[in-house]
Protein backbone atom coordinates (compact mmCIF):
# COMPACT_ATOMS: atom_id res chain seq x y z
CA UNK A 1 0.00 0.00 0.00
CA UNK A 2 1.39 3.40 -0.99
CA UNK A 3 1.05 6.49 1.15
CA UNK A 4 1.92 10.13 0.56
CA UNK A 5 1.82 12.61 3.42
CA UNK A 6 1.94 16.17 2.12
CA UNK A 7 1.86 19.52 3.93
CA UNK A 8 1.87 22.91 2.22
CA UNK A 9 5.52 23.32 3.17
CA UNK A 10 6.87 19.96 2.11
CA UNK A 11 6.36 16.31 1.42
CA UNK A 12 6.68 14.51 4.74
CA UNK A 13 6.57 10.90 3.69
CA UNK A 14 6.22 8.89 0.52
CA UNK A 15 6.49 5.12 0.54
CA UNK A 16 5.12 1.64 1.08
CA UNK A 17 3.39 0.75 4.35
CA UNK A 18 1.35 -2.06 5.84
CA UNK A 19 -1.25 -0.04 7.71
CA UNK A 20 -2.01 3.45 8.97
CA UNK A 21 -4.21 4.76 11.76
CA UNK A 22 -5.56 8.28 11.35
CA UNK A 23 -7.58 10.63 13.61
CA UNK A 24 -10.83 10.95 11.61
CA UNK A 25 -13.44 13.55 12.45
CA UNK A 26 -15.86 10.86 13.53
CA UNK A 27 -13.26 8.87 15.40
CA UNK A 28 -9.92 7.39 14.62
CA UNK A 29 -9.78 4.56 12.10
CA UNK A 30 -7.23 2.24 10.57
CA UNK A 31 -6.59 1.70 6.90
CA UNK A 32 -5.32 -1.71 5.83
CA UNK A 33 -4.72 -3.21 2.42
CA UNK A 34 -7.79 -3.18 0.09
CA UNK A 35 -9.67 -0.64 2.15
CA UNK A 36 -12.81 0.73 0.51
CA UNK A 37 -12.39 4.17 -1.14
CA UNK A 38 -12.91 6.87 1.46
CA UNK A 39 -12.52 10.61 1.84
CA UNK A 40 -12.42 11.87 5.40
CA UNK A 41 -11.46 15.02 7.19
CA UNK A 42 -9.00 14.62 10.03
CA UNK A 43 -8.67 16.17 13.42
CA UNK A 44 -5.62 17.10 15.45
CA UNK A 45 -3.96 13.89 16.54
CA UNK A 46 -1.38 11.33 15.63
CA UNK A 47 -0.97 9.39 12.42
CA UNK A 48 0.50 5.98 13.22
CA UNK A 49 2.03 4.09 10.34
CA UNK A 50 3.36 0.54 10.32
CA UNK A 51 5.88 -0.08 7.57
CA UNK A 52 6.78 -3.31 5.74
CA UNK A 53 9.25 -4.32 8.44
CA UNK A 54 6.66 -3.87 11.19
CA UNK A 55 8.16 -0.79 12.82
CA UNK A 56 5.90 2.06 13.83
CA UNK A 57 6.25 5.65 12.71
CA UNK A 58 4.25 8.41 14.33
CA UNK A 59 3.46 11.89 13.04
CA UNK A 60 1.48 14.50 14.95
CA UNK A 61 -0.78 16.45 12.61
CA UNK A 62 -2.97 19.45 13.32
CA UNK A 63 -5.75 18.41 10.96
CA UNK A 64 -6.19 17.56 7.32
CA UNK A 65 -7.88 15.33 4.77
CA UNK A 66 -7.28 11.75 3.73
CA UNK A 67 -8.19 10.06 0.49
CA UNK A 68 -7.92 6.31 0.10
CA UNK A 69 -8.39 4.83 -3.35
CA UNK A 70 -7.16 1.56 -4.86
CA UNK A 71 -4.47 0.98 -2.23
CA UNK A 72 -3.18 4.51 -2.67
CA UNK A 73 -3.43 6.88 0.27
CA UNK A 74 -3.05 10.62 0.04
CA UNK A 75 -2.94 12.47 3.33
CA UNK A 76 -3.04 16.26 3.13
CA UNK A 77 -1.97 17.50 6.55
CA UNK A 78 -2.28 21.14 7.60
CA UNK A 79 0.98 20.93 9.46
CA UNK A 80 3.14 18.30 11.10
CA UNK A 81 4.41 19.05 14.57
Amino acid sequence: MKIEIITPDKKIFDGEIKSVRVPGKKGSFQVLKDHAPIISTLEKGSVIMVDQGGTEKIYEISGGVIEVKANKIILLADSVI
Partner: protein, 294 residues
Amino acid sequence: MANLKAIRIRITSVKSTRQITSAMKMVSAAKLRKAQDKIVRLRPYANKLHELLVDLSNSLSDSEVENVYGRVSPPEKVLIIVITSNRGLCGAFNANVIKETKRVISEKYADQFRKGNLQLLAIGKKGFDYFRKQKMNMLPEQNNLLHDLTFDNVNRVAEQIMNSFSILEFDRVELIYNQFKNAAVQNLTNEVFLPVETAPAVKGNTTPTDYIYEPDKEEIIKELIPKSLKIQFYKAVLDSFVAEHGARMTAMHKATDNATGMIRDLTLLYNKARQATITNQILEVVSGAEALRG
Protein backbone atom coordinates in the same frame (compact mmCIF):
# COMPACT_ATOMS: atom_id res chain seq x y z
CA MET B 1 41.33 66.07 -23.69
CA ALA B 2 39.89 64.90 -20.40
CA ASN B 3 42.05 64.90 -17.36
CA LEU B 4 43.91 61.59 -16.96
CA LYS B 5 43.48 61.44 -13.21
CA ALA B 6 39.75 62.17 -13.40
CA ILE B 7 39.22 59.27 -15.79
CA ARG B 8 41.23 56.93 -13.59
CA ILE B 9 39.09 57.79 -10.57
CA ARG B 10 35.94 57.29 -12.61
CA ILE B 11 37.08 53.83 -13.73
CA THR B 12 37.77 52.74 -10.16
CA SER B 13 34.39 53.92 -9.01
CA VAL B 14 32.50 52.14 -11.81
CA LYS B 15 34.49 49.00 -11.07
CA SER B 16 33.42 48.96 -7.45
CA THR B 17 29.81 49.60 -8.44
CA ARG B 18 30.02 46.63 -10.75
CA GLN B 19 31.31 44.51 -7.93
CA ILE B 20 28.31 45.44 -5.80
CA THR B 21 25.74 44.80 -8.51
CA SER B 22 27.24 41.47 -9.44
CA ALA B 23 27.27 40.41 -5.78
CA MET B 24 23.61 41.42 -5.47
CA LYS B 25 22.86 39.38 -8.55
CA MET B 26 24.45 36.31 -6.98
CA VAL B 27 22.50 36.78 -3.76
CA SER B 28 19.23 37.14 -5.66
CA ALA B 29 19.98 34.06 -7.71
CA ALA B 30 20.51 32.01 -4.56
CA LYS B 31 17.35 33.35 -2.94
CA LEU B 32 15.41 32.77 -6.12
CA ARG B 33 16.39 29.12 -6.17
CA LYS B 34 15.38 28.67 -2.55
CA ALA B 35 12.02 30.36 -3.04
CA GLN B 36 11.36 28.37 -6.17
CA ASP B 37 11.85 25.18 -4.19
CA LYS B 38 9.05 26.29 -1.90
CA ILE B 39 6.67 26.71 -4.80
CA VAL B 40 7.62 23.33 -6.15
CA ARG B 41 6.87 21.78 -2.77
CA LEU B 42 3.54 23.53 -2.50
CA ARG B 43 2.38 22.37 -5.89
CA PRO B 44 1.51 18.72 -5.06
CA TYR B 45 -0.57 19.84 -2.08
CA ALA B 46 -2.39 22.51 -4.05
CA ASN B 47 -3.08 20.17 -6.95
CA LYS B 48 -4.41 17.36 -4.76
CA LEU B 49 -6.61 19.73 -2.81
CA HIS B 50 -7.99 21.16 -6.02
CA GLU B 51 -8.68 17.65 -7.39
CA LEU B 52 -10.58 16.73 -4.24
CA LEU B 53 -12.65 19.90 -4.39
CA VAL B 54 -13.52 19.41 -8.04
CA ASP B 55 -14.43 15.78 -7.37
CA LEU B 56 -16.67 16.75 -4.51
CA SER B 57 -18.38 19.69 -6.14
CA ASN B 58 -19.05 17.56 -9.19
CA SER B 59 -21.08 15.20 -7.09
CA LEU B 60 -22.95 18.01 -5.36
CA SER B 61 -25.15 20.72 -6.75
CA ASP B 62 -24.17 24.23 -5.69
CA SER B 63 -27.33 24.96 -3.78
CA GLU B 64 -26.67 22.11 -1.39
CA VAL B 65 -23.66 23.79 0.11
CA GLU B 66 -24.03 26.99 2.00
CA ASN B 67 -20.73 28.74 1.95
CA VAL B 68 -19.93 31.93 3.84
CA TYR B 69 -17.02 32.66 1.52
CA GLY B 70 -19.19 32.48 -1.58
CA ARG B 71 -21.56 35.30 -0.62
CA VAL B 72 -21.97 37.44 -3.71
CA SER B 73 -23.27 40.94 -3.07
CA PRO B 74 -22.81 44.34 -4.72
CA PRO B 75 -19.27 45.40 -3.83
CA GLU B 76 -19.82 48.28 -1.45
CA LYS B 77 -16.89 47.68 0.83
CA VAL B 78 -13.78 46.63 -0.98
CA LEU B 79 -10.38 45.45 0.19
CA ILE B 80 -7.45 45.41 -2.18
CA ILE B 81 -4.40 43.44 -1.16
CA VAL B 82 -1.27 44.89 -2.72
CA ILE B 83 1.74 42.62 -2.67
CA THR B 84 5.05 44.35 -3.33
CA SER B 85 8.57 43.90 -1.97
CA ASN B 86 10.30 45.27 1.09
CA ARG B 87 13.35 46.36 -0.83
CA GLY B 88 14.00 48.22 -4.02
CA LEU B 89 16.49 47.74 -6.85
CA CYS B 90 14.31 45.28 -8.67
CA GLY B 91 13.41 47.14 -11.83
CA ALA B 92 9.77 47.99 -12.46
CA PHE B 93 8.55 45.28 -10.09
CA ASN B 94 6.93 47.55 -7.50
CA ALA B 95 6.05 50.35 -9.89
CA ASN B 96 3.95 47.95 -11.96
CA VAL B 97 1.92 46.78 -8.99
CA ILE B 98 1.35 50.33 -7.78
CA LYS B 99 0.32 51.48 -11.23
CA GLU B 100 -2.13 48.61 -11.62
CA THR B 101 -3.60 49.26 -8.17
CA LYS B 102 -4.15 52.91 -9.01
CA ARG B 103 -5.77 51.93 -12.28
CA VAL B 104 -8.12 49.45 -10.60
CA ILE B 105 -9.09 52.01 -7.98
CA SER B 106 -9.83 54.78 -10.47
CA GLU B 107 -11.58 52.58 -13.02
CA LYS B 108 -13.40 49.94 -11.04
CA TYR B 109 -13.86 51.27 -7.54
CA ALA B 110 -13.98 55.05 -7.94
CA ASP B 111 -17.36 55.24 -6.16
CA GLN B 112 -16.28 53.15 -3.22
CA PHE B 113 -13.09 55.15 -2.97
CA ARG B 114 -14.98 58.44 -2.83
CA LYS B 115 -17.21 57.12 -0.07
CA GLY B 116 -14.19 55.91 1.85
CA ASN B 117 -15.25 52.28 1.59
CA LEU B 118 -12.09 51.16 -0.08
CA GLN B 119 -9.30 49.79 2.04
CA LEU B 120 -5.85 48.63 1.14
CA LEU B 121 -3.75 45.95 2.76
CA ALA B 122 -0.11 46.18 1.84
CA ILE B 123 2.23 43.24 2.04
CA GLY B 124 5.63 44.72 1.31
CA LYS B 125 7.12 48.01 2.43
CA LYS B 126 7.32 49.66 -0.99
CA GLY B 127 3.61 49.52 -1.64
CA PHE B 128 2.78 50.45 1.93
CA ASP B 129 4.99 53.55 1.92
CA TYR B 130 3.64 54.71 -1.39
CA PHE B 131 -0.05 54.42 -0.52
CA ARG B 132 0.42 55.81 2.95
CA LYS B 133 1.86 58.96 1.39
CA GLN B 134 -1.24 59.10 -0.81
CA LYS B 135 -3.31 59.13 2.37
CA MET B 136 -5.14 55.95 1.48
CA ASN B 137 -7.24 54.00 3.91
CA MET B 138 -4.72 51.39 5.00
CA LEU B 139 -4.99 48.31 7.17
CA PRO B 140 -1.97 47.63 9.38
CA GLU B 141 0.94 46.57 7.19
CA GLN B 142 2.10 42.99 6.99
CA ASN B 143 5.62 43.65 5.83
CA ASN B 144 7.38 41.15 8.02
CA LEU B 145 5.51 38.35 6.27
CA LEU B 146 8.18 38.57 3.60
CA HIS B 147 11.01 38.23 6.11
CA ASP B 148 9.76 34.94 7.40
CA LEU B 149 7.67 33.43 4.68
CA THR B 150 6.09 30.28 6.08
CA PHE B 151 2.66 28.84 5.54
CA ASP B 152 1.69 29.38 9.19
CA ASN B 153 2.47 33.09 9.12
CA VAL B 154 0.67 33.71 5.86
CA ASN B 155 -2.19 31.62 7.15
CA ARG B 156 -2.79 33.96 10.03
CA VAL B 157 -3.24 36.91 7.70
CA ALA B 158 -5.46 34.91 5.35
CA GLU B 159 -7.64 33.88 8.28
CA GLN B 160 -8.03 37.50 9.39
CA ILE B 161 -9.14 38.53 5.94
CA MET B 162 -11.54 35.62 5.56
CA ASN B 163 -12.93 36.35 8.96
CA SER B 164 -13.61 40.00 8.19
CA PHE B 165 -15.26 38.90 4.97
CA SER B 166 -17.57 36.52 6.76
CA ILE B 167 -18.65 39.16 9.29
CA LEU B 168 -19.55 41.49 6.41
CA GLU B 169 -16.68 43.91 6.84
CA PHE B 170 -15.90 43.51 3.15
CA ASP B 171 -17.97 42.49 0.17
CA ARG B 172 -15.09 41.88 -2.12
CA VAL B 173 -11.39 41.20 -1.71
CA GLU B 174 -8.95 41.43 -4.59
CA LEU B 175 -5.30 40.53 -4.91
CA ILE B 176 -2.81 42.47 -7.01
CA TYR B 177 0.65 40.95 -7.32
CA ASN B 178 3.38 39.85 -9.69
CA GLN B 179 3.11 36.26 -10.73
CA PHE B 180 6.36 34.48 -11.41
CA LYS B 181 6.76 33.21 -14.95
CA ASN B 182 10.52 32.98 -15.26
CA ALA B 183 13.45 34.93 -13.89
CA ALA B 184 13.06 37.68 -16.47
CA VAL B 185 9.27 37.80 -16.83
CA GLN B 186 6.62 38.63 -14.24
CA ASN B 187 2.94 38.57 -15.00
CA LEU B 188 1.03 41.30 -13.28
CA THR B 189 -2.03 39.56 -11.85
CA ASN B 190 -5.27 40.90 -10.48
CA GLU B 191 -7.51 38.19 -9.12
CA VAL B 192 -10.61 38.04 -6.97
CA PHE B 193 -9.87 36.37 -3.66
CA LEU B 194 -13.32 36.62 -2.13
CA PRO B 195 -16.13 35.80 -2.82
CA VAL B 196 -14.85 32.46 -3.94
CA GLU B 197 -16.12 30.90 -7.11
CA THR B 198 -16.97 27.27 -6.66
CA ALA B 199 -14.70 25.02 -8.63
CA PRO B 200 -16.08 24.62 -12.13
CA ALA B 201 -17.66 21.25 -12.77
CA VAL B 202 -15.37 19.64 -15.28
CA LYS B 203 -16.70 16.58 -16.99
CA GLY B 204 -13.64 14.41 -16.71
CA ASN B 205 -13.27 11.11 -18.48
CA THR B 206 -12.40 9.35 -15.23
CA THR B 207 -15.17 7.22 -13.83
CA PRO B 208 -16.29 8.56 -10.47
CA THR B 209 -15.23 6.39 -7.56
CA ASP B 210 -17.81 5.44 -5.00
CA TYR B 211 -16.28 7.01 -1.94
CA ILE B 212 -17.30 6.68 1.66
CA TYR B 213 -17.50 10.23 3.02
CA GLU B 214 -16.74 10.94 6.61
CA PRO B 215 -18.47 12.85 8.22
CA ASP B 216 -20.36 13.73 4.97
CA LYS B 217 -19.87 15.57 1.70
CA GLU B 218 -21.12 18.95 2.92
CA GLU B 219 -18.89 18.92 5.98
CA ILE B 220 -15.88 18.00 3.92
CA ILE B 221 -16.53 20.72 1.36
CA LYS B 222 -17.04 23.22 4.12
CA GLU B 223 -13.62 22.36 5.45
CA LEU B 224 -11.90 22.22 2.12
CA ILE B 225 -13.02 25.62 0.80
CA PRO B 226 -11.25 27.69 3.48
CA LYS B 227 -8.23 25.44 3.08
CA SER B 228 -8.02 26.04 -0.61
CA LEU B 229 -8.49 29.77 -0.06
CA LYS B 230 -5.55 29.84 2.29
CA ILE B 231 -3.49 27.95 -0.21
CA GLN B 232 -4.47 30.42 -2.92
CA PHE B 233 -3.37 33.30 -0.70
CA TYR B 234 -0.11 31.64 0.25
CA LYS B 235 0.60 30.90 -3.38
CA ALA B 236 0.06 34.55 -4.31
CA VAL B 237 2.49 35.78 -1.65
CA LEU B 238 5.01 33.12 -2.57
CA ASP B 239 4.67 33.88 -6.27
CA SER B 240 5.31 37.54 -5.66
CA PHE B 241 8.31 36.70 -3.49
CA VAL B 242 9.85 34.51 -6.17
CA ALA B 243 9.07 37.09 -8.85
CA GLU B 244 10.77 39.78 -6.75
CA HIS B 245 14.03 37.87 -6.66
CA GLY B 246 13.74 37.08 -10.34
CA ALA B 247 13.20 40.74 -11.12
CA ARG B 248 16.11 41.80 -8.93
CA MET B 249 18.39 39.24 -10.48
CA THR B 250 17.57 40.48 -13.97
CA ALA B 251 17.91 44.12 -12.97
CA MET B 252 21.28 43.52 -11.36
CA HIS B 253 22.44 41.46 -14.31
CA LYS B 254 21.67 44.39 -16.62
CA ALA B 255 23.39 46.82 -14.25
CA THR B 256 26.51 44.64 -14.24
CA ASP B 257 26.50 44.50 -18.03
CA ASN B 258 26.11 48.27 -18.26
CA ALA B 259 28.99 48.80 -15.83
CA THR B 260 31.20 46.51 -17.90
CA GLY B 261 30.37 48.48 -21.04
CA MET B 262 31.09 51.73 -19.28
CA ILE B 263 34.46 50.50 -18.04
CA ARG B 264 35.39 49.50 -21.58
CA ASP B 265 34.54 52.94 -22.96
CA LEU B 266 36.34 54.70 -20.15
CA THR B 267 39.46 52.57 -20.53
CA LEU B 268 39.55 53.41 -24.24
CA LEU B 269 39.23 57.09 -23.44
CA TYR B 270 41.93 56.78 -20.79
CA ASN B 271 44.39 55.11 -23.16
CA LYS B 272 43.73 57.67 -25.88
CA ALA B 273 44.42 60.49 -23.43
CA ARG B 274 47.54 58.77 -22.18
CA GLN B 275 48.92 58.33 -25.70
CA ALA B 276 48.11 61.91 -26.62
CA THR B 277 50.16 63.09 -23.65
CA ILE B 278 53.11 60.89 -24.62
CA THR B 279 53.00 62.12 -28.22
CA ASN B 280 52.98 65.69 -26.99
CA GLN B 281 55.95 65.08 -24.75
CA ILE B 282 57.99 63.49 -27.56
CA LEU B 283 57.09 66.38 -29.83
CA GLU B 284 58.35 68.82 -27.24
CA VAL B 285 61.65 66.97 -26.77
CA VAL B 286 62.24 66.69 -30.52
CA SER B 287 61.44 70.34 -31.23
CA GLY B 288 63.62 71.38 -28.31
CA ALA B 289 66.58 69.42 -29.74
CA GLU B 290 65.88 70.83 -33.17
CA ALA B 291 66.00 74.39 -31.79
CA LEU B 292 69.38 73.77 -30.10
CA ARG B 293 70.97 72.51 -33.33
CA GLY B 294 69.61 75.48 -35.32
